[in-house]
């Protein structure tokens, strides 16, 4: 099954083989986790959004067309779920209140692997939602601007601008962390 394409697996599911859907879950869960956690900034919310996204993807699988990458199609559903969760919980404000910049700076100083960047995970939450979504889709999901445009409904040039502004804002926020 591991060598089957997403399209072949989807075909099996549409033929009634529900269990084949688990291969899509296995294949795409980690990527969805990267995206959802960084958009929502909260593990419980991220898991809820991912579960809902996979369920919606299953129910809508008959609408999927293979002209689009399945991963991008799934991300579109996931981003919508994240937006729903964000609107409902407004966790962002709560997390911001909990932010302990001194502790983060300490953790950062002990961290040797630069792929793990705890302050970044936290300051992401302080980006405007549109900028956070854009930079996460671009880098956590490796999407093209064209795919991002289809997912978000925003134009490609607007998305490029959001990513640039996100970088500028992150840089300022991270300097703020280190100056504590």
């Amino acid at each position: 099954m591991s060598d089957m394409s997403d399209r072949d697996i989807i075909q099996r599911v549409l033929e009634g083989d529900v269990e084949s859907f688990s291969h899509l879950v296995d294949r795409h869960y980690a990527r969805c986790a990267r995206v959802a956690l960084r958009i929502l900034g909260n593990r419980e919310d991220a898991e809820e959004a991912i579960q809902d996204a996979f369920l919606r993807a299953y129910n809508a699988l008959g609408d999927y067309e293979d002209r689009e990458r399945f991963s991008a199609w799934l991300t579109r559903i996931l981003v919508n779920q994240c937006r729903t969760v964000l609107a409902r919980t407004k966790r962002r404000d709560a997390l911001f209140a909990d932010l302990d910049l001194q502790r983060l700076a300490f953790i950062s100083s002990m961290e040797s692997d630069d792929a793990v960047w705890p302050e970044l995970e936290h300051v992401l939450d302080r980006l405007p939602a549109e900028q956070r979504e854009a930079i996460v889709l671009k880098y956590a999901d490796d999407l093209t601007y064209e795919e991002m445009s289809r997912i978000t409904g925003a134009g490609e040039s607007a998305l490029k601008m959001r990513v640039q502004r996100a970088f500028a804002r992150l840089r300022a926020l991270l300097q703020e962390v280190h100056s504590v």
Binding site: V18, V25, Y29, A33, Q51, G62, W117, A140, Q164
Partner: protein, 194 residues
């Protein structure tokens, strides 16, 4: 803004994260999917890829033959008995085929589903569009029917009941398993009527 900074942000964003034990989380996803599946399987609503690659559509053939759009044909020929009265017709199960043109035939499909709220036919002749060709219900017999123009050759089709359930035509003499694994009824329309 330095390339180093962008590179490090990108690297950090690409790093995997764990959510409450990924294996358990994936299992929870599948639990919900199985519950959803128990209430009904998803069905493909778009044309099959191998059909999208097809260059000839029945609409194109209709236009080439100087016949109007398919959707109006059942209104043009509303009564199956008129088709039977045609000079050259063949019967496939209860389906009636009348000669209309060298390459097009009128086909009437019938389906008994007294409890169905809606029935449509999806086949290669309408690019597997489950909304394109609804069947009409006779108020007395409760039989569903539709008249189609199809070109000669073998055609795959199935009835779609209430938008979700794909059912082969019980009246069809033959059926085939499609590339997608489903059983489709086979409608064979000869170039020269029997």
């Amino acid at each position: 803004m330095s390339d180093w900074f962008e590179h490090r942000v990108a690297r950090a964003l690409r790093a995997d994260v764990a959510l409450g034990g990924d294996e358990r989380a994936r299992r929870r996803v599948m639990d919900r999917v199985r519950r959803a599946a128990a209430e009904g399987h998803p069905v493909r609503r778009r044309s099959e890829p191998w059909l999208r690659r097809s260059r000839n559509s029945i609409v194109g053939l209709s236009l080439a033959a100087g016949i109007g759009g398919l959707s109006t044909l059942s209104a043009v020929v509303p009564d199956a008995r008129r088709e039977v009265a045609g000079l050259s017709s063949v019967v496939i199960g209860d389906s009636v085929v009348s000669t209309l043109h060298d390459t097009l035939r009128l086909v009437r499909l019938m389906f008994d589903a007294p409890d169905a709220r809606r029935v449509a036919v999806a086949g290669d002749f309408n690019r597997w569009d489950v909304d394109a060709t609804p069947l009409a219900r006779d108020s007395r017999s409760h039989r569903w029917s539709v008249t189609l123009a199809v070109r000669s050759g073998d055609h795959r089709y199935a009835f779609v009941v209430d938008g979700t359930r794909w059912v082969p035509d019980p009246r069809a003499g033959r059926s085939v398993r499609g590339d997608d694994g489903r059983i489709y009824s086979l409608l064979s329309v000869s170039r020269t009527a029997n």
